[in-house]
């Protein structure tokens, strides 16, 4: 048992165990939450990096696996770190560490908050690293429950309503997924992903598999917030405390989208799904419609956080559409695009929501109109947000462009012209709401009546309006990272290569 293999259970167990510490230590002091979370997430990030280097530099390009408790995978639980999952694990740990920089001063405070925070991180890493479809459900639930709690911790009754809405829809989605898994178990008798991959094509009753895929697709469409099942997401993002939204927006739906991709390429298998009637059409339609509907809804929003939330609907639409292209055309390129876009979108949204939180805190601006004149008053955060927004639009060299390039190339290679058209047009659609905010920040002088606000900002978080260097730095780092990843298109594709060889042949 190598040391890299041990990191796998540690990555999941450590945050879950550490989540209990703030509560326990809270008996004596109220200020332990942040340090514990900071130490844990930093350690997780280091572990993820170590694991990633082991996976990517490994000689045989085989994934690193760990059987929990030593039980063989046919009936035990297996954890897997391969070229795809470790990418997401890196994103999760990096964002979880980065957001803490904001919450230190930006709040929310309190030990229970950090318990939920670590629980969420552990759940997300579980989704990422598990190799078992039922275990995946467990981690989905852990993630969701932590998220409900975090959303509900916002001020005011709206947060409670948003959390309740999320709770109901999220539970429905998880149940859908569970039903799908049950069908798979009925048809094949196993829950392990690798075992399923060989058992599904050989299953005697394909109807069960099809029904299973249908339930799973609907479940994930809800979790990923695809139109028209997205309704929980905008209010959850908007009503969650400012420090929480970046984490949720960057990771929760991303992990679900990753899990869906994992099920498509590893469990069901591209070849099997290609022959399954209507599977490609359904996934493609969900994705493309969400791209269009999400942007249309984003353009008409007045609240910045809400606008960015709807933007997530459309950006995840691109990912789901890419999955559709993967199924329809067996396109490796589209899968690379989906992976890059997942990473890129996570980073961009984390940066944007952190920026929005900063602006709300120091400038008191929450609506698009209130952003007027931000560039003059807060040049650094405005500049970073501008870079992130433009990257989201797909202006090269930003990470948004790289993902879009691969997805579009995949669609064109598979000769799916309507999908290609939607992907190309999505640039314009994203520009529609991004430019709105840019124009407000840079080319609209603040209205005279609003000026007192900047001298006497509205207290949003306990009256504290200071902005630490760290908060500013984390937004800038996100922006720089978005541009730097824009040059990493070839590198990431190269890293994924062994995984793609595995699943596409």
């Amino acid at each position: 048992m190598s040391s890299a293999e041990l990191l796998l259970p540690l990555l999941i167990a450590a945050p879950l165990l550490a989540a209990t510490l703030p509560i326990v230590l809270g008996l004596w002091t109220d200020r332990t939450g942040w340090p514990i979370a900071a130490v844990t997430t930093t350690g997780l990030f280091g572990a993820a990096v170590a694991l990633a280097s082991a996976v990517y530099t490994g000689t045989d390009a085989a994934p690193i696996t760990h059987e929990l408790g030593g039980y063989p995978r046919t009936y035990g639980i297996q954890l897997v770190a391969d070229q795809f999952s470790i990418l997401i694990a890196l994103l999760v740990t990096a964002v979880a560490t980065g957001v803490l920089v904001y919450t230190r001063q930006g709040g929310p405070r309190g030990n229970t908050f950090y318990t939920a925070y670590l629980l969420l991180t552990g759940g997300l890493l579980g989704i990422t690293l598990t190799g078992d479809v039922f275990n995946l459900f467990v981690f989905l639930e852990i993630t969701s429950i932590a998220t409900y709690a975090l959303v509900a911790s916002g001020d005011g009754p709206e947060s409670a309503v948003a959390a309740l809405k999320y709770l109901i829809l999220g539970t429905m989605a998880a149940s859908m997924y569970l039903i799908g898994v049950a069908f798979l178990l009925m048809a094949t008798g196993t829950l392990n992903m690798i075992e399923l991959a060989t058992a599904i094509p050989a299953a005697e009753r394909p109807t069960l598999i099809r029904a299973g895929f249908g339930f799973i697709a609907v479940g994930f469409a809800t979790k990923v917030a695809q139109w028209p099942l997205h309704t929980w997401q905008p209010s959850a993002y908007q009503q969650a405390p400012d420090g929480v939204t970046p984490l949720i927006a960057a990771l929760v739906s991303t992990a679900s989208a990753y899990a869906f991709g994992r099920l498509i390429v590893t469990v069901f298998g591209v070849d099997y799904l290609t022959t399954m009637p209507n599977a490609a059409t359904i996934v493609l339609t969900i994705g493309c419609v969400s791209v269009l509907a999400g942007t249309a809804l984003a353009v008409i929003q007045t609240e910045v956080k809400r606008m960015l939330a709807y933007s997530s609907v459309s950006q995840f639409g691109l990912v789901i559409a890419a999955y559709g292209v993967v199924i329809a055309g067996s396109s490796e390129t589209a899968f690379i695009g989906a992976a890059i876009h997942l990473i890129g979108h996570g980073l961009l949204k984390a940066g944007l929501f952190l920026g929005a939180a900063l602006v709300a805190r120091s400038y008191g601006a929450r609506t698009v109109d209130e952003y007027a004149g931000l560039a003059k008053a807060r040049p650094v955060v405005a500049g970073a947000m501008a870079v992130l927004l433009l990257s989201l639009v797909g202006v090269p060299p930003g990470v948004g462009f790289v993902g879009k390039w691969y997805i579009a190339l995949g669609a064109v290679q598979s000769e799916l012209w309507p999908v290609a058209a939607v992907i190309f047009l999505s640039t314009m659609l994203t520009l529609a709401y991004a430019a709105r905010l840019l124009e407000k920040m840079y080319f609209t002088p603040p209205a005279a009546l609003d000026w007192p606000r900047t001298t006497e900002p509205v207290a949003t978080d306990g009256g504290d309006t200071t902005v630490s260097i760290g908060m500013l730095a984390i937004v800038v780092i996100a922006a720089v990272g978005a541009v730097a990843l824009g040059f990493a298109g070839g590198t990431i594709a190269g890293l994924l290569e062994p995984f793609l060889m595995e699943v596409f042949n």
Binding site: V395, L409, F424, F443, G490
Partner: protein, 659 residues
């Protein structure tokens, strides 16, 4: 191919300057110093590569070779200085030197706000423009093309008023539709097409067309055609091909140095340059000629014909529209639209002479149009006059400026000995040499020369040969299309009615105003084009509707014309901010100034130098480097010495180049 860092250095020089400009935002002299220094360095770097490039060396820098980073899988982020690239880079960097002086004079003369942002964006635009010039493949050119759209947006929206914001929105929409949608789609399709054949996948430019694409076009001709039109549409947006042109006129709200260098040279030419890359080095003339488009009712035509038709239409239509523009910068913008279509038309004729003419027209138009814009800007700074109808007798006030304007205008019309003549001459030879239906395109070129005179001569005429208190009506501007039945040279009363645009509200407004007595200076901007005033009246609830009704009914015969003029007024009389109410001659008429005192040297020197450049290019094109470079490019594309190209029949030439 020689690996060399200079192409990258030439791109990055002004990117570094951005940082320095922003850092020294408190010290304007230092800040402008960085601009000038960056311009000189950039030009020096480009010139240092010129001799070797003329001898056939190609300098190349690639991200993968120098750092090992692969931009996208299978696609390198690469720059290379080949003849075509150096051609555009040389032009942009040379003109930037003088524009940075001029911009300093202009922005200070108007005490503009946010000058640091302005100069930083300007430097960024030049970075992107040189990046477009040196881009070695379609993805790299796409990257810089998008960046150029982005960094010029702050310049268009510079004024931060509602009008500038709307123009900025329109600008972003058009350019991103062109870049992010059409160009990206075309690029992806080319990558896919070339991956179908054994030579590919590739996106790198090759003189005479990509071999892989030529092979792929045999497999998938329809998609190859679609990709061609997507690419042309993508670059055509910036080249202001109709119907994608209307952003250009609106972008004229930007400060004049922007309109001059970017919206007459760097940005719009990057579109024309992109079209040149697509025609000469992606598809190649032979493939374009041999990839017939089946048009119902006509038969098979080359892919170039639709492009040529659009270009010919654009240059004629834009010239006609320009005649009816009273705002000088807008008239120049439509002239730019027309002149860029010359370039596209020349390229799409595919004949070597026409291509040389088209390429040479890039600098020829740049020098002349930059002169014109600089003059318009100088007039704006010195007198706040933007409207041609207010410029009667302005030659007294700004003698050197208006002389330079005359030279630029002559260059636009293609009169010898200005540079525009040379390029048009080559294009006409090319079109005539092909013969057949191409004579129609030659006809369009000739007609456009006449139209150019028709819209530029009135400016020169009114500046030098008319005076503030005595000048003729401007029938094209003021009268309904088709003309008035009455003679316009009758009494001054009638004239004033016509000059008002005949809008009833205006007339009544002016008559009611206390200063109605001073009918002698009704040429004043306020009286003549009271656009602000118009809106005020229309909005004012106090305006009795029945009074308006009677006014209208008494002038029934002019109803159509009224409506029309109102719409013209709505579009036409939005120009720079703060102009317009202060424009026109002062009460005592224009004072007479000598060329030395008419403006600051910061503006006059660039005007004089660029105008001289336009003449030099026209008198000795063989000695100025551009024509030689243009012939080198064409030799590279067709693979034989230029002297032999003229003797070869067109059809043979096209099959020759395919092989």
């Amino acid at each position: 191919m020689v690996a060399d860092i200079r192409p990258l250095a030439a791109v990055l020089v002004s990117a570094v300057a951005i940082v320095l400009i922003i850092a020294s935002h408190r010290r304007p002299n230092l800040r402008e110093g960085w601009s000038v220094l960056a311009a000189l360095t950039k030009f020096g770097l480009v010139v240092s590569m010129l001799p070797a490039v003329m001898d056939g060396t190609v300098f190349r820098w690639s991200l993968k070779e120098s750092t090992g980073i692969q931009f996208l899988e299978g696609i390198d982020f690469a720059l290379r200085a080949d003849p075509l690239g150096i051609f555009f880079a040389l032009l942009a960097s040379f003109l930037w030197i003088f524009t940075s002086f001029y911009a300093a004079g202009y922005m200070r003369g108007l005490s503009e706000h946010n000058q640091t942002r302005f100069f930083a964006s300007f430097a960024a635009s030049l970075s992107a423009a040189v990046g477009i010039a040196f881009a070695a493949n379609l993805v790299t050119i796409f990257v810089f093309y998008e960046l150029l759209s982005l960094v010029t947006y702050p310049l268009v929206a510079h004024n931060e008023d509602e009008e500038a914001r709307i123009a900025g929105r329109k600008y972003l929409t058009y350019t991103f539709f062109g870049g992010g949608v059409f160009l990206l789609a075309g690029t992806v399709m080319i990558y896919w097409l070339t991956s179908l054949v054994s030579e590919g996948p590739t996106l790198a430019f090759e003189a005479g067309g990509m071999d892989a694409l030529a092979a792929a076009a045999q497999v998938e001709p329809v998609y190859a055609q679609a990709a061609f039109f997507l690419l042309i549409a993508g670059f055509g947006v910036k080249a202001a091909l109709m119907p994608l042109h209307s952003w250009l006129a609106d972008a004229m709200v930007a400060p004049t140095p922007v309109s001059g260098l970017l919206h007459a040279v760097a940005v719009v030419k990057s579109g024309a340059f992109g079209v040149a890359r697509v025609i000469l080095e992606v598809y190649g003339p032979g493939l374009i000629y041999d990839l017939p488009l089946d048009v119902p009712g006509i038969g098979e035509v080359g892919l170039n014909i639709p492009v040529a038709i659009v270009a010919a239409f654009t240059l004629t239509a834009a010239s006609i529209i320009a005649m009816r523009k009273d705002h000088l910068k807008r008239r120049l913008a439509y002239s730019t639209t027309a002149q860029l279509s010359y370039i596209v038309l020349g390229l799409s004729l595919l004949h070597p002479y026409a291509i040389v003419g088209a390429l040479f027209h890039i600098p020829a138009h740049a020098f002349a149009k930059l002169t014109l814009f600089f003059c318009a800007g100088a007039i704006h700074v010195e007198t706040h006059t933007d409207y041609i109808s207010e410029m009667a007798g302005i030659g007294k006030r700004m003698p050197l400026t208006m002389s330079a304007f005359t030279i630029g205008a002559a260059g636009m019309a293609g009169l010898p000995p200005i540079a525009g003549f040379v390029s048009k001459f080559y294009m006409l030879i090319g079109a005539g040499d092909v013969g057949g239906s191409y004579w129609l395109f030659a006809g369009a070129l000739l007609l456009s020369a006449v139209l150019n005179i028709a819209y530029f001569w009135p400016v020169v005429y009114t500046a030098f040969f008319e005076s503030e208190d005595r000048h003729d009506a401007k029938p094209l501007l003021e009268f309904p299309e088709g003309g008035l039945i009455q003679s316009y040279a009758t009494t001054s009363d009638d004239e004033s009615v016509a000059a008002d645009g005949g809008e009833p509200a205006d007339t009544s407004g002016i008559e009611n105003e206390p200063h109605a007595a001073d009918t002698d200076d009704y040429e004043y901007a306020v009286d003549k084009y009271p656009s602000d005033h118009t809106t005020a009246d229309t909005d004012a609830p106090s305006q009795p509707t029945d009074a308006r009704a009677t006014e209208t009914s008494t002038r029934d015969g002019h109803d159509d014309h009224d409506d029309h003029d109102e719409s013209v007024a709505a579009v036409d009389h939005h120009g720079d901010h703060d102009d317009h109410l202060t424009g026109g001659p002062p009460a005592g008429g224009w004072p007479r100034r000598s060329p030395r005192t008419e403006s600051t040297w910061l503006m006059l020197a660039p005007i004089a130098i660029i105008a001289t450049g336009a003449v030099v290019l026209g008198i000795g094109p063989d000695y100025a480097v551009f024509l030689e470079l243009a012939t080198r490019i064409v030799e590279g594309v067709f693979g034989m010495p230029f002297e032999q190209l003229g003797d070869m029949p067109f059809g043979e030439l096209m099959t020759e180049v395919t092989n």
